[in-house]
Symmetry: D2
Subunit: 352 residues, 4 copies
Amino acid sequence: MAGNSYGTIFKITTFGESHGEALGGIIDGCPPGIILDFDTIKLDMQRRKPGQSNIVTQRHEEDEVQFLSGIFEGKTTGTPIGFIIPNTNQKSDDYSHIKDAYRPSHADYVYEKKYGIRDYRGGGRSSARETASRVVAGAVAKQVIADIKINAFVSSVGDIFIDKPYQVLDFSKTESNPVRCPDGATAAKMEEYIRQIRKEGNTVGGTITCVLQNVPVGLGEPVFDKLHAELGKAMLSINAVHGFEYGSGFCGARMKGSDHNDLFNADGTTKSNLSGGIQGGISNGMDIYFRVAFKPVATIMQTQQTIDKDGNIIEMQGKGRHDPCVVPRAVPIVEAMAAIVLADFYLMNKMY
Amino acid sequence: MAGNSYGTIFKITTFGESHGEALGGIIDGCPPGIILDFDTIKLDMQRRKPGQSNIVTQRHEEDEVQFLSGIFEGKTTGTPIGFIIPNTNQKSDDYSHIKDAYRPSHADYVYEKKYGIRDYRGGGRSSARETASRVVAGAVAKQVIADIKINAFVSSVGDIFIDKPYQVLDFSKTESNPVRCPDGATAAKMEEYIRQIRKEGNTVGGTITCVLQNVPVGLGEPVFDKLHAELGKAMLSINAVHGFEYGSGFCGARMKGSDHNDLFNADGTTKSNLSGGIQGGISNGMDIYFRVAFKPVATIMQTQQTIDKDGNIIEMQGKGRHDPCVVPRAVPIVEAMAAIVLADFYLMNKMY
Amino acid sequence: MAGNSYGTIFKITTFGESHGEALGGIIDGCPPGIILDFDTIKLDMQRRKPGQSNIVTQRHEEDEVQFLSGIFEGKTTGTPIGFIIPNTNQKSDDYSHIKDAYRPSHADYVYEKKYGIRDYRGGGRSSARETASRVVAGAVAKQVIADIKINAFVSSVGDIFIDKPYQVLDFSKTESNPVRCPDGATAAKMEEYIRQIRKEGNTVGGTITCVLQNVPVGLGEPVFDKLHAELGKAMLSINAVHGFEYGSGFCGARMKGSDHNDLFNADGTTKSNLSGGIQGGISNGMDIYFRVAFKPVATIMQTQQTIDKDGNIIEMQGKGRHDPCVVPRAVPIVEAMAAIVLADFYLMNKMY
Amino acid sequence: MAGNSYGTIFKITTFGESHGEALGGIIDGCPPGIILDFDTIKLDMQRRKPGQSNIVTQRHEEDEVQFLSGIFEGKTTGTPIGFIIPNTNQKSDDYSHIKDAYRPSHADYVYEKKYGIRDYRGGGRSSARETASRVVAGAVAKQVIADIKINAFVSSVGDIFIDKPYQVLDFSKTESNPVRCPDGATAAKMEEYIRQIRKEGNTVGGTITCVLQNVPVGLGEPVFDKLHAELGKAMLSINAVHGFEYGSGFCGARMKGSDHNDLFNADGTTKSNLSGGIQGGISNGMDIYFRVAFKPVATIMQTQQTIDKDGNIIEMQGKGRHDPCVVPRAVPIVEAMAAIVLADFYLMNKMY
């Protein structure tokens, strides 16, 4: 209940602090009999892990997942899948300077106020390192909904946007550059910009677009648990996310009904898709697409004023190895959360 | 589980179709001993109900709530508050034309596919009429968190935006015009525009901004149930919503960390508030503000092509009395859902 | 969360005090397309209602259920089924004597301490009148699991027990006498005994046995949500219940393994059935049977000493029309809760 | 949702098969700032572990728990407590004989039917080894409700019962004998009987009584989540449990109201306590006591007939090192589940 679980039928619960013994989680409700492909799980972990390119953090974390239960002779058994990801490369001494101080735009202050205690090492539970567990669960979820194609990619970094509709992009190119932007020319500009930002000791925000294809009609529950409401919550639960829109999104709020309505073809598909594949909270079989806004990483390599526990104004210099821009590494996290939401609704829909 | 409940401690479950006997709901987990102010509940219902001005639908629905339990001698007792809102003015014959046809960008098609049956009268369960129950629950929730100020208002209609920060607006003016825009000059333009849209038989989208003030530090649970993630889900669960952003939102994705970070004052408040009052998913005591995008209403008074159950292409003309723009009436719904989310976290936080 | 909901997929939430406007509830998660048989719902309501014979309370309550949603043209639509049962015959003046006093072995004292307020009229929320809503939900649940046969009956009143195994009883006789005991000779003794108890102004306890037949293999979730654990919780949640046992029950605790083990036939059925149709928390296709113990009703027509709010010792005389023995009227409640549990697991099992 | 979680506020989720890599779990909702006493956790683990005396199984399992998160400098932080218990001494070859056969009165058959796959080694997920995780969580829960005294003990083995009320027992004696029966003379008889049963290659059932003292008034939620209903579910979820009764229990079903009612003293305590410390589902401050029935262990060291996967009748001989009587080792498990239920309601009650 304290917010560490997600899902109803396909349910994940995670634990772990960035500098504790290990992260991990439990996937409950995974159907039995799935032959798990461990290579794709490993691949998703590698896409998220630090140190994979020179535009992301240079921390080295192995992020190797160990499955402890729920799998027998390579197949899921229907029992809970417990897993851990040992923290092997955490340097606690990096964080002594924040033991008694609150970093601006981090969760240090609110954790202290809410709990009266905090594991200050590397952000503790509020660290984005927690998302490693989500990627594991998402990689399993993808195998539950194997027919659904999930493709996320970086659609903007700062003011550099892909200026094309997703339909003309070749998703197989997403992994061909360190930014994870499937449009080569834009990717190059983004990469260049992120390098420059890093040199400044600064950080920059960005957006990720995610496209879900081949989703069966009928996923999502009306009223409160609409498919896009759950997708929205799932995305907003990712560290640094400040916005979510699907289909026409915020642009739709400027349109007229006559332009916005998606007219039907005889087979139930629609001529346009401003609805983003969801009507009344339920998938209609068209592509689902949504966009997620990430704020710039709060830890910058510049001197900032802040306060300590006693309310003294102090100066703080960012230390450690941090991402100048979080979106390249967040692509597999967005996919993972989308997969978890879809797997949950997919199983729920078997009732009907 | 089928999506008709919201909340964990302060929990609402709703029922009802637009043309059934009654709508209603159950509020479970409302603390005992609250002297309910029924006038403010009635007021919120009136703000949502149709027919209140000439820029909204001219349907006449009384929307009178009857409380059936959980209240004794004017006070809540801690037991579930059951309530109903009878449907007194629903004309079923209005809807015969859609019995066997699917309206574009409505939920008709997906309901039919998911359930194999649908109450076609007025959209049935997918009708925004369901939100009347949310407004009742929200009005009760507001009294649970009486110290928190919740102010929503229309911030854009089509391309007409308020071009001022919320801090300079006078929220007491929101109810002074039928658009529910606290900036008089902008309100006048919006009103004029909506009238024109209505004459065209068309509809238009818009946005609502909501500001939560005097929120105690510590609301929200880290990781999955972040305060803004729940606010996002709650808003996205409202009919016609296509986007949600809080704090710096999508603009934040274009910024640098050095510009985005909110530096602390000695007392723990922050000099800027691009975090939108939430850090790491937990309220930090600063104003929480967010913006919600509503697509244009799908029912237009123009002829559109669509399909019937058998896949025949047919022509359909919108009938009935519908809103040319939904945002004025959605303001109390946004407030209601915000109140429900806050009440839930407020009670949850008593554990700490 | 405050304890007024039951179930995960097939989920019921109830509201209502014994002397409020109405009782009622919401059934969420009922599958679509079920042609509801309203006569059987009415029948179950009549089996529970007061005044049906001269060995139960002589209160007259109509207990007429009004369905408000979720049903269209006689069929369930998959949307929540809201219903109310108006309180038409409640005499509030009967209860002035307990306004400031706590009845022994009732919930008056604990409600006052927990909530600081209580609706003292007729026990308020703690009244067994709440079970009327459960019977409605149970009657719907029975139609979700139409192939499963549910038969509960009174197996003991005071020291009068049926001394036969359930296999030799003719369940079609259960409704042939006011006690709801399918064994005629025993029923006659029980009836005579209850009459005598009533003359004494006293009450007596009893047990109900319930047999579930034709249950498919596989219902129940291992570990915490075992089928018998949920059945146990469901039964223990009924007013006045003090015990639950299934299969060999408390007798099994005296047995040896060599006598207790159920050996398999070649087809997977078992030669004996001390397991009570459940192994490892999962149904094995054999009959499920369990027994529920009800304490004697606390309200007796005799003078008892008790205390008032200020801790003064006072004398209290039971008033009103109460049941001398609750088990005859509790038979449909036991069946209803069993049906709700089974429907929930039945739908959940569709995942596999 | 697949049944591997318990609790709402204080919530435990477990994972692990008897012969997998490790068991473990996540405790979510543990309040921050508790200085954990690891010695008492270890002690409870030792009370449950195999091989502790010569009347329990002679398997040697270290059952050492490793905490991975949620604890910082010896204190709970309010974040989820992840833990694992490595399986260090599991001999997989012991179980080849049951790979294709179903043991009588075990869960082999139903797992195979439900999931289509099972980890046959040692019962897999259905093994009572899972309860090791519960004991860890329970030991933490005990520290959340440090003022409440929880004492379980063996009250019967086969036909040997303690013939005294719990009030005259000295709970400090429970651990003084391997049976965990606080009455020395009875304990000696039980021990002797269990030795004899073991020699016969047989097993025997028993009961455990549990007493909860110093429980504050007000724990439990009315209607479905009554305190005793949750205690009942928690106990029935323990392997081999076939019955639960609290207060007067099944005996209460034979009594008259005039004998059963608990009259009040001026201070709100009661002269008798047949209610078992709970009225209307809510604790009244008196001792809570309940009794749990365990069937005899299904694995016996005798030859039994059973079937294999193909429905062939085969002979099977129990192998391995199993408990002749499960109740001595189940005492800490009963206490653990009671502590988990109490901690959950205790935290929930802070809302009021």
